[in-house]
């Protein structure tokens, strides 16, 4: 609040003089400065590049303030698709990544773009569609078979089309069917985040692949039902990755490391476990810091 207040005053003086408007808008805001009982790190700014699902589901609204209070860092959360988040890591534009596309994450470790990668949590992807279910996939737990049925019935399928983790998962599922959806009239790309894509899917009464968390968080506005779930292929695994501070001088190595440690801390994991239970009756994410990917039975 304080920072903005100063910026506001600075700029307003500027604008006020120029526009010769007397009596600038009153600004009696007295900021409630949270007393700094927390440590102040040398470089307090941490850029977190993450996926839209962690933001749209509201998880980060809970975790980021916790981290800031515990460590004194200030997190700048940039919510983009996983593809863009990984690219930001590669370029050294972010300090830490929270992403969900394991096969695309590994090359960054191999190339030395990231120096640590820790399993944080998982949930699962589900295939949702209109209550009328024109493709008749209700009760099909086999994700590949469900997609094939959607293709065969030429029901509209909305793809994210934005190189996000969800989009990567969807494309890997299509590659397991004998269908090449690109260019088909029933296959449409929204190019937007998960929340917006679900809205479009609902309006068009189409099918889409979504992570469960975003679906549960936005369900109230949607006319969509979950049809396919529980396939081991649909596992959605989130990792936190620290960008290699040696890449350039501006990367906040200590801050990135602190965020990684925070995400796998038992107290944080407990918060993740309970997140959303009160609101949706079920957890949105399952904490996994004490497990390995093999334990989850994926790949």
């Amino acid at each position: 609040m304080k920072k903005i207040f100063y910026l506001f005053i600075n700029l307003l003086i500027f604008a006020g003089v120029l526009l010769a408007i007397t009596g600038c808008s009153s600004n009696t805001e007295t900021e409630t400065s949270s007393t700094p009982t927390t440590p102040t790190p040398d470089n307090p700014e941490v850029i977190l590049a993450t996926t839209t699902s962690t933001q749209d589901s509201g998880l980060l609204d809970v975790l980021v303030p916790m981290f800031e209070e515990q460590t004194g860092y200030h997190v700048k959360t940039v919510a983009v698709g996983t593809g863009a988040a990984l690219a930001m890591g590669e370029q050294g534009e972010a300090d830490v990544l929270l992403v969900h596309a394991p096969t695309s994450e590994l090359p960054l470790m191999e190339n030395g773009d990231c120096i640590s990668r820790k399993l944080v949590m998982h949930n699962d992807f589900v295939i949702v569609g209109p209550p009328s279910d024109p493709a008749g996939i209700s009760g099909t737990s086999d994700a590949v078979a469900a997609l094939k049925a959607i293709a065969d019935s030429e029901s509209i399928f909305i793809s994210r089309g934005d190189d996000s983790g969800t989009n990567k998962m969807e494309l890997s599922l299509w590659s397991k069917t004998s269908v090449d959806p690109s260019g088909q009239s029933w296959y449409q790309e929204s190019g937007q985040g998960m929340g917006a894509t679900l809205t479009i899917t609902s309006e068009k009464q189409a099918y889409t692949l979504t992570d469960r968390a975003t679906y549960l968080a936005t369900q109230a506005n949607l006319e969509l039902e979950i049809f396919t779930q529980g396939d081991p292929l649909l596992l959605n695994i989130y990792h936190v990755m620290q960008v290699n501070p040696a890449k350039n001088d501006l990367i906040n190595g200590a801050g990135g490391e602190a965020f990684v440690d925070f995400m796998i801390d038992p107290a944080t994991q407990a918060v993740i476990k309970d997140f959303g239970v009160d609101k949706y009756g079920q957890p949105l994410f399952f904490p996994d810091a004490d497990k390995t990917e093999a334990d989850l039975g994926s790949v």
Partner: protein
């Protein structure tokens, strides 16, 4: 229909209860866009007057560039500013990316051609005889310029309104260079986009109403100033 009513109700609730987050977002939007307008006003009036009054080689080309810039897409401006402000970019060392200052820079670039263009056109439409008359009455160079700028204050205020209106309502550049970071660079437009993608439509509508009310308020003040002068 319910949604619209709920949105309006929500907007008033947020305003009356003084929701701290919404107030902060609103003040930031106002600060950033007024600041950007002010900076481009200084630069724009200067450039516009110079280009309007002088003749030099390449002047027509420059004028056509400025007129094109009046329609510059905010996302493209955002992208160009990002490339310069990224850590790997030439100004990365300044740590401006994902700060309100980055948004101010991008919005300046968007509104500068608008204000320059308006100034240039309105200076040029002044009767050349008047200019001669001012000079022949023995005005100093400064007095001469001041009189010209004063004489164009009506179109200049229109320029301010057009410039301010175009940047407070733009979302592409603010999203790209600001990053829509809560409490930091979240302005009314990017907050609206986020509310929509979260499916929180009443909040989105409420933010939209606040944005439009704000634009109206600023324009009302400017219009009052503009129309105060007696018709000639």
């Amino acid at each position: 229909m319910d949604l619209i009513v709920q949105g309006i109700v929500n907007a008033f609730q947020l305003l009356i209860h003084g929701d701290p987050e919404v107030i902060q977002i609103t003040l930031l939007s106002l600060a950033v866009s007024l600041g950007a307008t002010a900076i481009s006003l200084i630069l724009g009036i200067t450039f516009g007057t110079v280009i309007g009054l002088t003749r030099f080689p390449g002047r027509r080309f420059l004028a056509s560039l400025i007129n094109t810039g009046m329609g510059a897409p905010p996302v493209v401006v955002g992208l160009i500013v990002s490339v310069f402000l990224w850590r790997n970019g030439p100004f990365g060392i300044l740590h401006l990316m994902y700060t309100p200052y980055a948004i101010v820079i991008a919005q300046c670039i968007i509104s500068l051609p608008i204000i320059t263009g308006f100034t240039m056109a309105s200076i040029q439409q002044i009767d050349p005889k008047l200019r001669l008359q001012i000079l022949s009455l023995g005005a100093s160079r400064f007095q001469y310029l001041w009189l010209l700028v004063r004489d164009t204050r009506l179109p200049l205020l229109a320029a301010v309104m057009a410039g301010f209106g175009s940047i407070i309502s733009e979302v592409g550049a603010a999203m790209m260079v600001g990053g829509n970071i809560a409490g930091d660079t979240r302005v009314l437009t990017t907050a609206t986009v986020l509310a929509v993608s979260k499916g929180e439509f009443p909040l989105a509508i409420a933010l939209g109403i606040i944005l439009m009310a704000l634009v109206y308020l600023v324009n009302m003040v400017l219009t009052t100033v503009q129309q105060r002068s007696k018709p000639r």
